[in-house]
């Protein structure tokens, strides 16, 4: 057992460089996961926000979007493959129908539901009183959405993106089945030759990356969410804290 950990440490010392090294594989992994989350956010946040604001057609869209959650990513990767191989010939800037593209499609389908649903619910649940007050002040609909509802919904929206990102990072290992690189490569190749060391190393790397993603988004959340909305801080308490010291300290 101790020997295994020794071998594992040696593996990490030896395998960091080159195309098959874990620095490159991690970068490949981050590339496909990152793009999937970014594109899913670019689609999900505006769509969820607008539908949440207008309150129309929500159920239908939520149902459609949740198909991405219901379909196993493995299945989507396999289904996308014949299409992506054919597309790769026609479309100029896409190099290959294997690897990146089918993986990206499957991860996009996985990333979209949490982001869309959270944004939709977050915006819908902004207090109607606040929105009415803004309307009463003559704020346009678009500015209500952007300046009032989205900031208030931001903790929920960001939580959706965070959940999505962690799931995507964990699932991007599937790419290795269709010729992509990424950290899944260690698991698939290790399994093919029954190299336990490689499998464990790959799994560890994915776990570390997932945790890092979770923590990273936590930090992001702390920067983006407006202070009064951060959890554990009531508006009142903060407002009170800003009062004159004499008003707080007892005589």
């Amino acid at each position: 057992m101790i020997e295994f950990f020794g071998d594992l440490a040696r593996w990490f010392a030896d395998n960091w460089d080159g195309t098959a090294g874990y620095l490159n594989r991690t970068w490949e992994h981050v590339q496909v996961s990152g793009l999937a989350v970014v594109v899913a956010s670019a689609i999900g946040v505006p769509l969820g926000a607008w539908l949440g604001h207008t309150g129309k057609g929500g159920l239908a869209v939520v149902s459609v979007v949740n198909i991405g959650r219901a379909l196993p990513s493995f299945g989507i990767v396999a289904l996308a493959l014949p299409i992506t191989i054919r597309i790769a010939d026609r479309v100029p800037f896409i190099d290959s129908g294997l690897g990146f593209l089918p993986t990206f499609i499957a991860l996009l389908a996985l990333a979209l539901p949490p982001i869309f649903t959270n944004t939709f619910a977050g915006v819908r649940n902004v207090s109607r009183d606040t929105v009415e007050a803004a309307r009463g002040m003559g704020v346009t609909e678009r500015r209500i959405l952007v300046d009032v509802e989205l900031p208030i919904a931001s903790p929920v929206v960001l939580a959706g993106i965070r959940t999505s990102a962690v799931q995507v990072v964990a699932t991007a290992t599937l790419g290795a089945l269709v010729g992509y690189g990424g950290l899944g490569r260690y698991i698939i190749d290790g399994f093919a030759v029954q190299d336990d060391l490689q499998i464990v190393a790959g799994a560890l790397l994915v776990a570390v990356l997932s945790v890092a993603t979770e923590l990273g988004f936590g930090a992001l959340q702390r920067r983006i969410v407006p202070p009064p909305l951060r959890r554990g801080t009531s508006l009142r308490r903060r407002a009170l804290r800003r009062l004159q010291p004499s008003a707080r300290t007892p005589a």
């Binding site: 493959l81 191989i85 790769a88 010939d89 269709v178 010729g179 093919a192 030759v193 029954q194």
Partner: protein, 304 residues
């Protein structure tokens, strides 16, 4: 009280009847002995061969369990040695290499060397089949024409330009990437890990994602799709006759009857027939069970 007693007697009688009925085997010639667990690795031909052997054993009264699609040789070989599976259709050349021996293109020699190599592990190689299945390097007809390729050594002119596609274990295999590099001096621009000579590799080759694919010589897809199988002019691939490998325990339990039966089946398999079955599995999506059954019926091993 009497009613309870009577119902208990009836119950006991029924239970004994069930036990006795269960103990009697069904089938004409009930063969007493351990269950034969037939295993297979993870590609189509292995499923078909596994099904052929399993079905013919069942038809002759042996008790059979199937454990198919287990993984690569690194998984099934230990399983065979540890007794988790009892029978596996193998390939003489590659198995001999796996066991540390050196095969040749001579079928007989390779087979007898194999028998010696696995004897220490308590395994027995039964008679080998005339059917062979070797690693084959395949290009599309268009590529062959454009680059003037007929044999594997022709690829050397395009070193650094072509992409090879094959199973993930190919870079670790002597008869795959390692052999191409050492025996043929080939240098590929890249290697794309796909599946074991299956639909993903075929799709990638057809779609131009890879230039050279590893497929198996007994795969009818090659002819059906008009691919060109490059000639192995430096004889990298050894004899790869299909050979059922089993354990000494099974042989001790069943003896010559089992051996004769399996030898008869193995002798009847030809490369051409196997190719046709593989093609029907791979392209026409037929079930391995149906294909195996049909073949066995056509050869008279099973009645239908």
């Amino acid at each position: 009280m009497r009613n309870v007693f009577r119902s208990r007697v009836v119950g006991a009688a029924l239970v004994s009847l069930a036990l006795v009925a269960g103990a009697c085997s069904s089938g004409d010639d009930a063969t007493d002995g351990p269950t034969i667990t037939v295993g297979s690795t993870n590609f189509g031909e292995q499923l078909i061969l596994g099904e052929i052997y399993a079905s013919v054993l069942e038809a002759n009264g042996y008790s059979v369990e199937r454990k198919f699609n287990l993984g690569t040789r690194e998984v099934v070989n230990p399983a065979l040695k540890s007794g988790e599976i009892d029978l596996l259709a193998e390939y003489t050349g590659t198995l001999l290499t796996f066991e540390g021996g050196t095969p040749s293109t001579d079928s007989d020699q390779t087979w007898s060397d194999l028998q010696n190599a696995i004897g220490d592990d308590g395994l027995v190689a039964l008679a080998y089949s005339p059917a062979q299945d070797k690693n084959g390097f395949v290009v599309t007809a268009a590529t062959a024409q454009e680059l003037g390729l007929a044999a594997v050594s022709d690829l050397a002119q395009y070193n650094g330009q072509l992409v090879l596609g094959g199973p993930p274990e190919c870079p670790d295999r002597e008869f795959c990437l390692i052999g191409l590099q050492e025996v043929y001096g080939l240098d590929f621009a890249g290697f794309t890990p796909l599946d074991t000579g299956g639909p993903l590799t075929v799709a990638a080759l057809e779609g131009g994602e890879i230039d050279v694919a590893l497929l198996f010589t007994s795969d009818g897809v090659i002819a059906a799709k008009g691919f060109v199988l490059l000639e192995d002019d430096r004889n990298l691939q050894p004899a790869e006759n299909i050979v059922p490998v089993t354990t000494e325990e099974i042989m001790d339990a069943y003896g010559e009857d089992l051996r004769d039966l399996l030898d008869e089946v193995s002798a009847a398999i030809t490369t051409a027939e196997l190719s046709e079955l593989n093609k029907r599995y791979g392209l026409d999506a037929e079930d391995p069970e149906d294909l195996a059954r049909e073949w066995l019926v056509s050869k008279g091993f099973i009645e239908e």
